[in-house]
Symmetry: C2
Subunit: 394 residues, 2 copies
C-alpha cells in the first residue's frame, strides 16, 4: 500500500462466493453517485425490480434488493413473515439451515427441526411426517442450494407439501439464483431471498428478496410490529413501491445498485436457460477432471449443485496448505469446509462469471500441480484430458 | 438506457447526503473483487478499522463498518446495548431522534422522551431534569448532528451528564463525522454510529460504528440474545476481531469497503482539523450568500452545523418546482424538508467532497437564478459577492 491505497490482487474466485465480477459490473460500480431520491435513481430502482422479477421468474410486486448482504435477506424474510409464537418447520442439512433456525428463535417463533444428513438434499418424506405431526405449523423453511455442502433440494416438491399443509414457505436461494432454475411463481413460494455474489456475479452487499401476495398480506395483518426497523417491509415497501407514494426510508446503496443492475442485465442478455445450461456444462467437465484425479464428491450425483462442487479432501492432505498454495502461487481461491465439514471438504465454485472453460481447466491444472507437489494420493496427468472429453461429449 | 446499462447523470450533490464522491473513491470501488476471507482482504479490514479509529478519535478495539447503511448502524447500537425492559432516555429534536425512539421500542426497551424544538440543539438542562427524574434509566440516546434540521448538539456535555447518572450513551454522528469534531474517547461515548455518504464522501451503504470497552462488556453480559442475528455484535466481532480468531459471519461488501477505505484515506491525508476548518469556511461563505439573498436559517447561529444549511423556503415559493429546476437545469441536488419541515425548509449540504468554493458559488448562482425566475421575494445580484467577501475575510 505504498500510496496508502488498497490494490487488491487479481484472483480467480472459485470458492463458494464471491465469484468473479465481470469488468462491465466493476465499471458500473464506479459511475457517479447520484441521490437516492433523484428521479433518475427511481428509474434505476424500477429497472432493478423488473430485472429481479425476471430472474426470480415471478410477477410478485414486492421484489427488491435488501440493502445488505444475504444474511440480512434471510432475516428480512423471517422477521417479517414469522410472528412471535408461530411454529416454523426448519429443514437443516447444512450451515444455512442452522442459521434459519437461529433466525426463528430470535424472532420469537418456535422452530421444529427436520434434521437431515449433511451433503444430502432435504428429504420430502421426512418433511411430510413433521408437517403431519404439527398441523399448527405456519411456515416451512428450507435452503434450496446449501452453500455449505453443495446439495440441491427439491423446492417444487417442498413448496407443494407446504401448501397442502397451509404453510408459508421461506426459501434460501442464495447460491441457486442464476445457476439452476428458481421458479418462484411456479413453485408458489412465499418468501425467497438470495445474494448478489454467487451466480449473479455482482459484488457482495445486497440481498434480492421476493414476497408472494399472500405473504405480503400476512405481513400487513401482523399483530406485533416487526422487531427490526431497518428490515421492516411495511416501511421498505413504501420506498421500493410504485411511483408517487415513494417515501424515504433509508439511504439506498446507490453504487452497489448500479453494479447489481448491470449484473442482472448480463444474465438476462445471456438468458436464464442458457446460464443454467452453462453451469451444467462446466460442472460436467470439472467433475470429470476431479473424478479422474481420484477426488470424490460429497453429494450424490442426482442431488448435486453444478455451481458448488464439494469434494472430500484426500487422506493425509493438509487442507489449509493446499488452499494457501493455490492462492499464493496461482491466485486461485477455492473454498474451505464449513461447520462439520471444516478440514474435510473443499468447495469449488463455478458460479456466474466464474463458470467458464478457462476456469475449469485452470483449476484442474493448479489443483493437480499442488496436490502432486504434496505427494497426495491422486492420479496425475489425466484431469484436463477428462475434462476436455466431457466438453467434447456435451 | 439504449445499451440496457444505467448511465447516471453528473450531479452536484448538495443535499443531506449522499455527497459528491471523489473520483479516487469511485475508482477504488471498481477494483477487482476478492474473497471476504482472503488474507489480503483481512489486511484491508485491519486498515479500515485503524482509519475509522483515527476518524472517530478513539482507541476502541470494537470499531468497524456495519455492512449496511446508517439506519442499520443505529439499529446495531440499540439492539446490542439495550436489553428488554431497560429504560432509555431519548432526545428528540428531529426525524432521527424519532427513529431512535422507534428502535428502543422495537428492542423491548422503555423510551423516555426528552422532546425538544425542531431546529434547536438538544437542551442539556431538560436532559438533566429527565435523568434526575429517572434514576433507573440505563441509556441516554441523542443525535449529534440532526440531519433533518441542521442542528448541532453538545455531545460533550450530554455525555458528561450521562456518566454522572451512570447511563450508557448512544450517539448518532451520521452527519457530523468528518465535518465537525467527533471525539469519541474525550467524550467518553459508548455506542456511536455514522454513515459513509455524508462528510466521508463514500457512497451510501455502510455504517461505521464504535463501542467503548464498557459497552462491549455490557453486550457480553447480556441475559437475552440480541434479536438480530445479522447485527449481533457477539458474532460480528469474531469476524472483525484480531488475527487468527476471525470467523466467518456474513459475506462482507468487499467493493464497498474498497471505497470506504479510500475515502477515509483522503480525509486523513487532509487531516481532521483541516477538514473541520474547510467545512466551517465554506459554510461561512454560503451563509453570507444565502443571507444576502434574504434567506433565513432555521437554526440559531451557535447551534448550526456548517455541513447542513437548513433555510426557510420563502413565502409563496413552490418547493418542489424549485428543486426540480435546480436538478433539471443545473444538475444540482439540494434537500427537501423532512417530517414537520416538509415543504417549509430546504437543506443545503456542504459535506465532504461537496464542500468547496466552486460548489458554494455554483449553488448560490443557480438558486438565485431559479428563485428570480419564479419571482420569489429575494435580493438578486448580491449573493456571490457576499460569499466572496466572506472568503476574503476568512
Amino acid at each position: 500500500m505504498s500510496d496508502n491505497g488498497f490494490h487488491p490482487p487479481q484472483r480467480t474466485l472459485m470458492g463458494p462466493g464471491p465469484s468473479d465480477v465481470p469488468p462491465r459490473v466493476l465499471e458500473a460500480l464506479a459511475r457517479p453517485t447520484i441521490g437516492h431520491l433523484d428521479p433518475r435513481f427511481i428509474e434505476l430502482m424500477d429497472s432493478v425490480k423488473s430485472r429481479l422479477q425476471q430472474v426470480f421468474l415471478t410477477g410478485n410486486p414486492l421484489t427488491m434488493p435488501v440493502s445488505a448482504p444475504g444474511s440480512a435477506g434471510m432475516e428480512t424474510c423471517f422477521v417479517n413473515l414469522v410472528e412471535p409464537g408461530e411454529k416454523v418447520i426448519v429443514c437443516i442439512n447444512g450451515v444455512f439451515g442452522m442459521r434459519m433456525r437461529e433466525n426463528v428463535i430470535r424472532c420469537g417463533g418456535e422452530a421444529i427441526v427436520v434434521e437431515g444428513e449433511w451433503g444430502r438434499a432435504v428429504d420430502p418424506e421426512a418433511v411430510k411426517e413433521v408437517l403431519d405431526a404439527h398441523p399448527d405449523a405456519r411456515h416451512l423453511a428450507f435452503v434450496h442450494a446449501e452453500t455449505s455442502t453443495g446439495a440441491r433440494s427439491d423446492a417444487e416438491t417442498l413448496c407443494a407439501l407446504a401448501r397442502e399443509h397451509e404453510c408459508y414457505t421461506i426459501i434460501d436461494t442464495v447460491t441457486s439464483l442464476g445457476g439452476i432454475p428458481v421458479r418462484v411463481d411456479d413453485w408458489g413460494a412465499d418468501a425467497v431471498y438470495s445474494g448478489t455474489q454467487k451466480c449473479l456475479s455482482a459484488p457482495p452487499g445486497l440481498s434480492p428478496v421476493t414476497f408472494s401476495e399472500r405473504a405480503v398480506e400476512k405481513v400487513r395483518q401482523r399483530k406485533t410490529p416487526v422487531q427490526s426497523w431497518f428490515l421492516d417491509l411495511s416501511l421498505v415497501m413504501n420506498y421500493w413501491g410504485e411511483g408517487a407514494s415513494r417515501a424515504y426510508h433509508h439511504t439506498a446503496p446507490v453504487n452497489a445498485l448500479y453494479g447489481l443492475h448491470e449484473a442482472l442485465g448480463i444474465l438476462l442478455e445471456e438468458g436464464l436457460e442458457n446460464a443454467w445450461r452453462r453451469h451444467a456444462l462446466h460442472h460436467e467437465a470439472l467433475k470429470a477432471g476431479l473424478e479422474a484425479m481420484g477426488l470424490r464428491y460429497v453429494v450424490p450425483e442426482e442431488e448435486r449443485l453444478p455451481q458448488l462442487n464439494a469434494v472430500w479432501i484426500p487422506e493425509g492432505v493438509d487442507d489449509a496448505a493446499v488452499r494457501r498454495r493455490l492462492l499464493e502461487d496461482f491466485g486461485l481461491e477455492i473454498g474451505a469446509g464449513l461447520g462439520d465439514f471444516a478440514g474435510r471438504v473443499w468447495r469449488i465454485g463455478l458460479m456466474g462469471h466464474s463458470c467458464n472453460r478457462r476456469n475449469v481447466l485452470f483449476c484442474l491444472s493448479a489443483l493437480e500441480s499442488v496436490l502432486a507437489q504434496m505427494q497426495a494420493p491422486i492420479e496425475t496427468g489425466v484431469a484436463v484430458e477428462a475434462a476436455m472429453a466431457a466438453y467434447a461429449d456435451a
